[in-house]
């Protein structure tokens, strides 16, 4: 995981060769940011869509590159990489986005890549490391065959972004 130190060791290594999701305790939705993988609670995601034309908003923070129309609804696009690490992914039409309910808001989340559903066993989840760039919003670190995945508290992340940007 990008900027991710090794976990605390409180979790078992992920087993190899299991059928995906066969014995998952929880489902997350995984995305890629740089070299790292991050995930958030899968029930927050209503759909994965391809972005249409982006309408950019003046006077917007950089984590909000614009809005898109999806089935008649205008949705703000949230650039997760910019929000967490100030490294935006410059979303283009056709890029995939996850439509996410985060608290009272509905946003289209973009990242460097969308991996999709991730089954996680409870015993493969450990506490987040201290000092990670995104540790403020990390709930835990999980592991699977592909390595570590940072588990994000998405509603808190979106609320914090809003609070940080609300004009005084």
């Amino acid at each position: 995981m990008a900027e991710q130190e090794q976990g605390s060791g409180a979790r078992d290594p992920a087993p190899h060769g299991n059928a995906p999701g066969a014995s998952a305790d929880a489902w997350y939705f995984a995305v890629r940011l740089g070299d790292g993988r991050y995930a958030f609670a899968a029930p927050l995601v209503t759909e994965v869509v391809k972005l249409g034309p982006l309408t950019r908003l003046p006077a917007a923070p950089s984590f909000l590159p614009g809005v898109v129309t999806h089935r008649g609804e205008i949705l703000p696009v949230l650039d997760l990489g910019d929000l967490l690490f100030r490294r935006g992914c410059e979303p283009r039409p056709g890029a995939r986005a996850a439509l996410v309910h985060a608290g009272p808001w509905r946003v289209a989340v973009v990242a460097d890549g969308i991996d999709g559903l991730l089954p996680v066993r409870r015993r493969h989840v450990g506490p987040p490391p201290a000092g990670h760039g995104a540790s403020e919003f990390l709930e835990a670190v999980a592991a699977d065959d592909a390595g570590d995945v940072g588990i994000l508290d998405m509603p808190r992340l979106v609320a914090a972004a809003r609070a940080r940007s609300v004009p005084k």
């Binding site: 006077a59 808001w105 509905r106 809003r162």
Partner: protein, 137 residues
Amino acid sequence: MSPGLPLLLFQVGARVFAAPAADVRRIGGSLVERPEEAVPDTALGRPWDARRGLVVDGGDGAERTVLVDGVLGLRAAEGDELVELPAFARDVISTRALAGFARIDEVPTLVVDLPALVRERRDGEAAPDREETNRHG
């Protein structure tokens, strides 16, 4: 059938915006009789060529001329083509002069409250367009 809300379409830089036509007293050139009435840059950004000016009520008894790159024409928007800004976007942008969107040829086009835009500029409320400063620097 409702005649719809007449919108004036105009361009600032690469972006197309709309504004209620009723907010525009007249369309002029970039040469403004009293330079203090010109509004060269706003939360919408700074125009490239500033070839036209949208003359609006400044709210203080004077007129203000918002300089734009071009006026693209009039378009009537029906009620179902007008949409509010998403709440999250409304909360985080640093201008209160964006009234919402008009769906024009299926593309959401920002509807600008021009009197609010010039008031913001006058009162120094609006931060500069953060998109460019944040994305590139």
